[in-house]
Amino acid sequence: MGPKLHDRDFRGLAPWVLVLLITALSLFLRADYVWLVNLPSNWLIPVADWINLGMDWFVATFKWLFRAFNWVLNWPLVWTQSFLQWLPWPATVAAFCTVAYVASGWRLSLFTALSLGYMVVTGHWAPSMNTLAVVFISIPLAIAIGFVLAISAYRSKRVNSIVQPILDLMQTVPTFAYLIPILLLFGFGPVVGVVASAIYACPPMVRNMILGLQKVPSDVIESGLISGATSHQLFWWVQVPSALKNIMIGINQTTMAALSMVIIAAIIGSSADIGWEVLSTMRKAQFGQSLLAGIVIALIAMVLDRISWGFSDRTRAIERNHLPGLQRYRPWFVALGLMVIFTLLAMAVPFLRIYPEAWVVFPADPINQGLTYITANYAHVTDAFKNTTYFYFLLPLRIGLGKAISPFSWGFVLTSSMIWGYALVGAALSAWLFVKHGWKISIAAIILLIFLYFGITAMPWIGFILITSLLAWQIGGWKTASLSVLGWSFMLFSGVWPQAMLSVYMCLAAVIVCLLFGGALGIWASQNRVVSNFLRPINDTLQTMPLFVILIPFLMFFQIGEFTAFLAIIAYAIVPTIRYTEHGLRHVPEEIVEAAQSMGCTNRQILWEVKMPLAVPEIMLGLNQTVMFALAMLVISALVGTKGLGQSVYIALGKADPGLGLVAGFGMALIAIIADRIIQGWSLKRKEKLGISG
């Protein structure tokens, strides 16, 4: 039983009623006043054109500088590439295996050998080495930039307040969007990949390093000070070593981001690397070839991840550094010896120098044939799956039940009595919720019903902006609310509103599925060790995977189109929901669970009555990550045909139109930031209320 009506807290209800009235009014009037849904073009502000003008000037003025930079950076890149191409493959394998061994032991060393072996045997060696060369140049660059930024931000509050929002933008603006200006400034060539990935990859370095430095206990710093350390000594001998764990985590994440971006940069087709291999075969619908090359990327990602992760394990590093004398260098001597031996041998034995074409195992054709067989014989299954999802879930969300229900899709005509029925049932439901659970749930239900009937893309902008901004205001105060109003207005007046709504719809659709399935998996994993152990490596792998590798398997079965993108987004974005749900449920304070057990709660009661309410803020943080991941994948999936901001960015890239690219990219970032502030704000507020920290 809910509390009596007159006892309840109705604060905050009035603005919602007002907003709903305005929304309803604009819905009634939208047929007569088209500008309520789509702003006429003469109302728009030509932001994109201005950016292009500015960019033209900037490029004309500073092109020489960037081209010079390109020229300088090109040398180490060319050297690294030619060196890796020149080095006989067994020597390279030996070197990598040694690094893997030092990082984490013989298991990783074996895995590395097998991975590189795959590249050799399937004939992907040369493009893989080209990719690695770019990665090897951009990682140190990203780490160096990150290191300097982190130190400055740590030392000065003012620098920090400038750096933080820039990091936010760098991580949320889609990578394609800033490929365009980089392309214009640096010109075509592999250096673009280096620069783009260095920019994209440095935020995690900066963040983790700042975090690490801030986490150094004050006792440790004071012990350095009282020993009379100068600020230089204090920084290098006390703070940096104490923060090493976080710095290494930063390097690990930076490495993965750099690889991801190098792969993505293949889209400008500047070098014969493995990303280009995947992309070009994908475009030609040669999925077998694409899959085989995609596996290379996946293997590179896993190897780099495990190696850099291995180095971040401090215990190993410390023990390694305390081996007596030359013993600690022994693996390196062995590696060097092997490399020399293989290089010499390769002069005499040609197959050691270059793996012969004739020995290449490249089972692309059987894969393609198998795929053709499956798609030919099981088309009815995949089609049924696709159409059901599309007609009963995606379409209503996009254009609303009002339009989605048709004889073609749902098998019947939507009559006006049905519409009235929907309205009446909806009203009754809201009224019941109002009495039973209070006005907040009731209002939420009304908004949901409105969106479901009219569709996200057909919502009048005024209603959409007011609803999200009011929510933002109640959760994060006027700052969040004004971010929301300004952000949406930017998209509205710069002319990308329709695309933005398409992106919101796609993202929302994927997030709903992620929440349902990811939440269920997370709950299951929290109750069952076996499930947890089974899911963990899959999650790890999905997260380290460069984004467009994930597209390949879905592309194979569902071809180009929105549905493939939808599935790929889910596959990538579901991971945080699973993880945070499991983590949240597993880390409910032990004594609370014990208290519940001692009261005689069943496991089911403990889960739903005790653990769930306490885990909800954590699950919301997972949801927040899911939204961010979904938006990131949304851009990449423009490759296989989604509409919306991602597509705009992609088109802009094709036309080398920085204005459109940046406006659409910035729009994407704004959606991400607004969603982040609202969801995270809610989660933190809730945590505070429950008295759970961190």
């Binding site: 206990p217 006792d219 440790v220 710093i221 004071e222 012990s223 009379g228 350390a229 000594q233 001998w237």
Partner: protein
Amino acid sequence: MKTDNPVKLSCRNVWKVYGENPDQFFQNGSGQVDDLEKVGQQIADSGHIGAACNVSFDVHEGEIFIIMGLSGSGKSTMVRCISRLVEPTAGEVLMDGEDLLKISDKELIEFRRHKMGMVFQNFGLLPHLTVLENIAFPLKIQGISEEKRLARAREVIDLVDLTGREDSFPRQLSGGQQQRVGIARSLAVEPEIWFLDEPFSALDPLIRRQMQDEFMRLQKMLHKTIVFITHDFLEALRLADRIAIMKDGKVVQIGTPAELVLSPADDYVMEFTQDVPRVRVITAGEIVINGGSTDGLPRVNASSNLEQIMPMFANHPEGMAVERDGEIIGLVTPQAVVNALASESNSNGA
């Protein structure tokens, strides 16, 4: 008495005020103010926080001076003001007559390198260095060669009974052992003044007791001038030559353990002292009767407490000779003990 030794460290009207503009309350960094209460009120009214207010005390050579207070009393702020880990707002900190607050950053670094040692509540050990390297770290900072500093570290490691654990890493040690490393590190430079900031608070009660004994053993050998911070009144009683009790940034009372217990300055101090058994606090030296014949009487040390000497009256009802530093300073009699305890219970019962 240790208080007869020359003054090593002296705090004069030290203030630490947090807030927007803490300097406004003082002229030229002088901590002397005309009307203490008025300034205190001004500080509070303007939204500033006085973490240390007009703190003055002297620490004598070889003395264990304990600053005791509950959390938020300003005791940790005070020890940091002396070592300038926290920059005081006003006042003077004189060490051997030199004002530490006036020396340059460079001089301060030199000062810390050679004259100060400090032990921290959470040990403050460097996780990436071994025990030996941690102890040698202050010497590394001074630029002493690896060979020399490790040799010195080995000496100190023996001192704190950690021989055999040289190559362990901090995370492999128990809390008590980690703090031994912290102690060894602070002693590696042979400091003239030794700060200990709640060194044993993070340890289990039994280990704490052991470490206190260990600390007293070290001090008997080393005779350092010590500023020791604790929130544990019993710990203060056990270890201190003199105790300063702090509350809300102010010093409430300074005195020997017996002085505090026998004549607490106010109700706040009394709350700490009322449950303390007097017989453990009052020492023979404090109730000694000068003059009178002590020939043939057994000797007791001036620092022995009543609990230790009372059983001896069973065989020596005439009393015992009290000695300090090998010299007889007077006589302790059963009557004197009874007087001391009686005056105590009177004042308590009032």
